[in-house]
Amino acid sequence: MTTSFQNVIADRHKYARQWKARTGGKVIGYFCTWLPEEIVYAAGILPVRILGSHEPQEMAERHISSMYCPLCRDCLAQGLSGKYDYLDGIIGPFSCLHIRQTFASWKTHVPLEYSYYLYVPTIGHHAAAKPFWVKQLTKFKASLEEWTKKPITDDDLDKSINVYNTNRRYLRQIYDLRKDDFPPVSGAECMEMVVSSQLADKAEHNVWLKSAYHEFSTKKERKDPGIRLMILGSENDDTEFVRLIESLGATVVIDDHCTGSRYFWNYVMPKEDRLSAIASRYLNRPACPAKDITQERRRFKHIPKLAKDFRAQGAILIQQKFCDPHEFDIPPIKEILMKELGIPSLHIEMDIVWPLGAYQTRLESFLEMLQPALV
């Protein structure tokens, strides 16, 4: 079953093209997981997240400052080079200025039928945020309806919410299996499931997840996980990187990534006012640093809890080069994990196109350092 997930990731463009041909529907690309995909999916549109290609490029430098993160430059280069020429539109939910720059340059230089800039409140739990955002979502929904020339009914939204919640439920169930002393599923496999979920039609993805859950939960042969690790930080869709970690005598048992748990952790709780229900879900989802600017520091409670629940023994803090939001959070998180839970961390600065071998020695020394603690 894991091959279905891997195939979508490897052949994401082919998958989207075939989906289009099969359904006659539109495909939109989106940047960042703050997009309330339920509304898009309810309009019969397939939302696909634009992620890294991990290939060196030079095109984006003509549009984005070299001090912006490699992910946002990689994404833009793919747009400019025509890799996503099947997209009917793009949506830029408001998150950080690096990826907003990608959205802006893409919409300026790549011909498209549709583009939408969707503001997402920075302080989701402020009492004023929800009523404001519901109004923004109402405008967004109307814009999609105008584009597709089809109303999005409550029934469409209900079906969409159901598909998305099902996806989340399966992913959480599979993640929960990793709490076991001998997790039946690896970190790389989990990342593949989440990343592919951001690329595939969720209804189809749910079928694969269902059978994956069955396969993993009944798996008899389980190997010793070695050192239990948490990975967290900037956007990271590099499953090969996780595979590398796991080849060195460790297992990634939990993450706090937007290509991982942050994407699916909480559900839309059905309510009469569908947009309000959807808004609540996003405004209260596990935050990324850009959406965690209050004194409450929601991340600093959520992350140690995950580490504790999944019994992580070490943490790898990943930071895309120049990623401001995470650069601000990484040092205090490192301190909290150590102070509160005695969990040591390794901070890795990443460039999406750097060869993986560059990290191996540091990973090995970190794991070696963790070894005595286990005795």
Binding site: S65, M67, L97, S105, A128, F132, A290, I293, D329, P331
Partner: protein
Amino acid sequence: MTITKYQTKPLQCWQKAKELRLNYFKSVMNAKRDGKLLAMVDSGSFLELPAGLGDDYIPFEGHPYGASVGGDPEFSQKCVEATEAKGFARDMCAYTRNFWGSMFLNEYLYGGEFPKGEFAIWRSACESEGKFYQLVAEHMGIPGYALDFPLLPGQEKDEDVIEYVVDQLGACIKWMEKVTGRKYDDEKLLKAANNHFESTRIWAEICMLNQTIPAPLDQKTIYTLYFPSVALRHMPETLAFYKEVLAEVKDRVANKIAALPIEQCRLWDDGIPPWYFLGLYRYLEQYGAVVLGSQYTYALHGAWEDYPDGSWGPARLPQERGMRMKTREDILRAIALWYEEKPMIRAMALPEIKSRQLLRIVQDWHADGVMMHSNRGCPGLSFGQVENYLALQKSGIPTIIYEGNAADKRELSEAQVLDRIDGLMEQMGIRKLVGL
């Protein structure tokens, strides 16, 4: 070619601007001794909001302080190193690193220990701004309140945004009353808000006068003059000061008193300058190149408005637009609108907005070329800069970008900057003034 030589003389208000600035930083330093209410409120935030707590309120503002530290390379170096020693990355916002470093070292640039506020308020126009004061409040162990100010790309005033901001400001006032135990006075808020409205409007009027040929002001001078419009915009002293500046600049225009004796070309500037290398403006004078200003100096807090007829200029005061100013909500609405219209904030939504602004400015201020600082110390204002550069080039406007850092000297090569400037002058066919 005949070269016109203009009369020039130093600006009388210049010294006063310097005093206002220094007095401000000293008032922060002495706040505790003088029994004043020092609050950590960044200049990007709603500076006037705590004014309702009492006349003794003094904001300690991160951006102006980070910039001032940047102007002292030796101290700045110590500060950024102190921040880096805590594990923070070298490529983060340089103002933040300067401010934090000074705070971690417990050393204030103007002497003594690092002043500690009683509470903090911040908002996030860029992610760094949102995280900057979050850690300041934590480090100081004081209560903090974050505000969200939506960046939307629309040109029109957005009622939903105004309402959203008003709700938050109202909640913040209640919170301030709770954490300080003081009763909030709306009259004091109104006064501070009016000072802000009027002084930033007059600042825009002053900047408009620089459309004149020869320009009465140059960027070097403007760096000293604009400070109150940013850091002290809620103060009556600022309003009085800008009235004086306006009168003096009007007089310069009437009498053709120029910033430079020879104005061979007019340049528009983009971004925050390298504060420790303002010598680059002196270098430009060798070419008779007058630098007219930047969105940073004109519009960081200068108040501009798109008029209904499509033109733009200094913003009309809320009262002039028929806005009621009776209740707290009325005042907060006027404040929210004032911030929503700020061109620099708008430009941070999408690069095309700033490109439009730039093209309009180049035309209205009769600029011959543009000089952009790709400031590695400010990811916020670097947003869209490369696209802006392309838009200017497409319109045939000679433009250069030079790399540097507003407040971290390690990231700028002076020789390279001067080289770029030479290139721009060559593009425009401007030669150095020799023997004039």
